[in-house]
């Protein structure tokens, strides 16, 4: 096992890991931000809106993320939209993740008992205020576990970007392998890095869940 391949190229690994982290973070933030309004739209009393959001949710959960990335990178140029690899990857991953996130958020909101809405009404609270100050804070306890698990998946998902020409960790790794013909140390190093990233995300997940729990 020739570990010098890894150590010699440490700088490149660090850079590639940085890009992986950047892509993951961007996807995490964007997919959650998009998912909240979608989740609320899903249960509004406007039928076409509900149908549209429900269709979006189903499709993004049934279609592979890779397909969405390909659509963003290879398909959009047909319509005159030329995205660079990184934005295309982020777009594809975000659209894919938002569908799942929306379902988790929705389940959390639906889990808040109707009596809480009643109490807010009886105190004269308008619906938007009730959602913001009473319903969603409670919903977070149900939303967070599946939502944060999904977000750890996004770290793994960032590896798909390598298939649309992004030089993140997996992409760089593949390039280095074809250059040096030393797949074993390189792939083991890559696997270990992803596991470390995962551990960090899980630790952050635990911290966030604790912040939202009630002492």
């Amino acid at each position: 096992m020739n570990w010098s391949i890894v150590t010699d190229n440490a700088g490149m690994f660090v850079q590639a890991t940085g890009l992986t982290i950047a892509i993951s973070l961007a996807t995490i933030v964007l997919s959650v931000v998009i998912a909240f309004p979608l989740a609320i739209m899903r249960d509004l009393p406007i039928a076409p809106l509900r149908a549209a959001v429900a269709t979006y949710s189903w499709m993004t959960r049934a279609v592979p993320a890779l397909t969405l990335l390909f659509l963003a990178y290879y398909g959009l140029p047909q319509f005159g939209i030329f995205l660079d690899p990184v934005p295309a990857a982020i777009a594809g991953l975000t659209v894919s993740a938002a569908g799942y996130n929306m379902e988790y958020i929705r389940a959390g909101i639906l889990s808040v008992p109707a009596t809480q809405y009643e109490a807010c009404k009886a105190l004269g609270m308008p619906l938007v205020m009730a959602l913001r100050r009473v319903i969603i804070p409670q919903a977070m306890r149900t939303i967070l576990p599946p939502l944060t698990s999904n977000l750890t998946l996004l770290v793994k998902g960032s590896s798909l970007a390598s298939l649309v020409a992004v030089s993140e960790l997996t992409g760089q790794g593949m390039a280095l392998i074809s250059f040096t013909y030393q797949p074993v140390p390189i792939l083991i190093a890559i696997a270990i890095i992803y596991l470390i990233l995962n551990t960090v995300v899980v630790a952050i997940q635990a911290m966030v869940e604790r912040r939202f729990s009630i002492p």
Partner: protein, 255 residues
């Protein structure tokens, strides 16, 4: 001479084919306590929820201080009031629920302060002072930073009453507020209600507590199958029931 603060006129409520309220009319005089009793299914909870328009009546009218809260006149037509218009009304006619319905993610003090600060937009410092005074009044000052899940049922209900009171309502509605409590905890809540009545608060209470009704209420209404079967002074109505319905109801409650 006390004026009617709430007037209920021929209120009916139907859910599809099921008619729960079949023409209810009565007045609530300011500063008095009205008790509503009846078997389950008699419509008493629905009636209470009509009073603060959580449930709008199918037909009939409800007047608060002489003005209808069900609809308003627009160009000669009656237009049903929207949820937004009703929000203000509900800050003046507050409700306390059977299952307390405290906000689990806020402390007792925060629960009480929430609506006055954010709905009535009163200054926070002033609301905090009032909230602390109310906690003192319901004898829960020592629990003010506790979260609901750490409070007993009786304590939670007393916080709920303080929460409703902090809105400075003109009328307080109580929906079987002691029914979900263990017997030894009911007393502390009933004591608070008795003190409120003595201070002149207008109260409408749906209740099974005959002792409370007999001693504290100024008037009692007995409901049966969606209509008012008997009405009057508690000592007379409960002491000498005229209808067979009330007679058997009182017997079942006593047992």
């Amino acid at each position: 001479m006390a004026l009617p603060i709430l007037q209920i006129r021929d209120v009916t409520k139907s859910y599809n084919t099921l008619q729960v309220l079949k023409g209810i009319s009565f007045d609530v005089l300011e500063g008095t306590v009205l008790g509503i009793i009846g078997a389950s299914g008699s419509g008493k909870s629905t009636l209470l929820r009509c009073l603060n328009m959580l449930v709008p009546p199918t037909e009939g009218d409800i007047l608060y201080q002489g003005q209808s809260v069900v609809s308003r006149r627009v160009d000669g037509r009656d237009v049903k009031k929207s949820e937004r218009e009703l929000l203000l009304y509900r800050t003046q006619v507050s409700m306390v629920f059977q299952s307390f319905n405290l906000f689990p993610h806020m402390t007792a003090l925060e629960n009480i302060m929430e609506a006055p600060v954010h709905v009535l937009r009163r200054p926070r410092a002033e609301v905090r002072e009032e909230a602390l005074a109310l906690l003192d009044k319901v004898r829960l000052s020592h629990r003010r930073d506790q979260y609901p899940h750490r409070l007993s049922g009786g304590e939670q209900q007393r916080v709920a009453i303080a929460r409703a009171l902090c809105m400075r309502p003109r009328v307080l509605l109580f929906d079987e507020v002691t029914s979900a409590l263990d017997p030894e905890l009911k007393g502390e809540v009933l004591t608070v209600m008795r003190d409120l009545a003595a201070e002149g608060m207008t109260m409408v209470s749906v209740s099974h507590e005959m002792g409370f009704i007999r001693n504290v209420a100024d008037e009692v209404v007995f409901m049966e199958h969606g209509v008012i079967a008997e009405k009057g002074n508690p000592k007379e109505v409960l002491g000498d029931p005229q209808t067979p319905g009330l007679q058997s109801f009182l017997k079942s409650v006593r047992d």
